[in-house]
């Protein structure tokens, strides 16, 4: 596994005081906290920062980490020394409330064995949380999705290691963005014969090329030719369940919304599909097209700026 230089991650010297470390962490947390940050990779970056802080803010863990000496470099191949951890007693970290931290293998190999000793008696497994991003179409047809999760697990020797596991999950028809799928017993295993925790999957949709989603309603921009909008027409429109014919009322303007009832995400009741009309002008790039525009300019007494008083 790769060595992690926690001092480098927080941008502090090895001689930094507890206050220096706290203030460096605070600054980075403001910048990269996934709840408040729009930086790319904020989540991954914040995880590294949190892991570094978890170790350096804790006197016992920091002292043990410092014992590794300063001959290691970030990313260097690393194996814990055989006498690692002797004479140290680690207590449970800051992450007592909230999720079990998904720290690196490096962290788990150094501190994982100790963090969990308190859980030895019979105890229900912790609930776990994960996000799943699915195509919008899954909400219309239902689907089966495979997800791969990393979770800390105890092995037979009582050591904690990050294990990957794969789950096949049924995505029910009618699911919406922000809803949770609760999988009973798929969280952390229980200790001493107690039941396992649950896994909560937070569902999100991939951005869709055509449809924008709001709760169970969808909206889509529907381009129209000027004559379709002016005279009324029946035009084709794609919907997630297939192409439909839509009647455009005469005199429609750009921005007008047409509601296709029940064409949104299925359910009781189903959502609606809103078509936002967008009148598109044909290019005047041929003599004939220019003639037609000239004729309109001549024949139609039309001032689009009348409301502006000019």
């Amino acid at each position: 596994m790769e060595f992690k230089d926690y001092y480098k991650t927080l941008g502090v010297e090895r001689t930094a005081t507890a206050d220096d470390i706290k203030s460096a962490y605070r600054k980075l947390a403001r910048k990269y906290h996934p709840d408040v940050s729009k930086e790319v990779n904020a989540e991954a970056r914040f995880k590294e920062i949190g892991e570094a802080y978890e170790v350096l803010q804790d006197t016992e863990k920091r002292a043990a980490y410092d014992q590794l000496g300063n001959r290691w470099r970030e990313g260097q191949d690393f194996t814990p020394p055989p006498d690692w951890g002797a004479g140290f007693e680690f207590t449970q970290g800051r992450a007592s409330r909230g999720e079990a931290p998904d720290f690196s293998d490096f962290f788990s190999s150094l501190f994982g064995n100790f963090a969990r000793q308190a859980d030895a008696s019979r105890a229900r497994g912790e609930d776990h949380h994960a996000k799943i991003v699915i195509p919008l179409e899954d909400a219309f047809q239902g689907a089966t999705r495979t997800i791969t999760l990393r979770a800390p697990q105890l092995d037979a020797q009582g050591h904690v290691a990050l294990r990957e596991h794969t789950l096949n999950v049924r995505i029910p028809k009618g699911i919406r963005d922000g809803q949770l799928i609760r999988l009973a017993g798929q969280g952390a295993p229980g200790a001493g014969g107690a039941p396992g925790g649950d896994l909560y999957l937070e569902v999100h949709f991939d951005p869709h090329a055509l449809y924008r989603v709001e709760s169970h309603d969808l909206s889509m921009t529907l381009p129209l030719a000027p004559w379709e909008a002016a005279l009324g027409a029946t035009v084709k429109a794609p919907t997630p369940t297939g192409v439909v014919e839509v009647k455009i009322p005469a005199g429609s303007q750009s921005g007008k919304k047409l509601r296709l009832k029940g064409r949104g995400i299925p359910g009781e009741p189903a959502g609606d599909l809103f078509l936002v009309l967008d009148v598109v002008l044909p290019k005047a790039d041929t003599e004939q097209a220019q003639q037609i525009y000239h004729t309109m300019a001549r024949e139609l007494a039309f001032n689009p700026r009348k409301a502006l008083g000019v």
Partner: protein, 106 residues
């Protein structure tokens, strides 16, 4: 154990209150006492009047976990975390409206 063949069906939690106090607390890795505080400051608004009848929705769980992270990672008081949460929610609503208007902000 070959989990890869197994197809899991879960229960969907949405806008209907389904989670009881203890379930929500456990899902947050927190004490029920802390959830009661969140309700008292108005961060969570469960359905049901009496504590034993409280039912929480998906948004409550997402929200409570967010407050837990903000409190833990910034050492924020519950009140400060509640203000952060309000502001974050406002930003999200504005972003969603921009997106609906076809203006991408990313």
């Amino acid at each position: 154990m070959d989990r890869e063949q197994e197809l899991l069906t879960g229960s969907v939690i949405g806008d209907e209150g389904v989670l009881v106090l203890e379930e929500l607390a456990r899902a947050c890795g927190a004490e029920a006492k802390w959830i009661i505080e969140l309700v008292a400051v108005g961060v969570l608004e469960p359905q049901g009047t009496d504590i034993s009848l409280w039912r929480f929705r998906a948004a409550d769980l997402t929200c409570a976990r967010r407050v837990a992270r903000l409190q833990r990672d910034f050492d924020a008081s519950l009140d400060a975390a509640a203000v952060m949460l309000d502001l974050l929610n406002q930003i999200e609503q504005l972003r969603a409206r921009l997106k609906l208007a076809g203006l991408d902000v990313e």
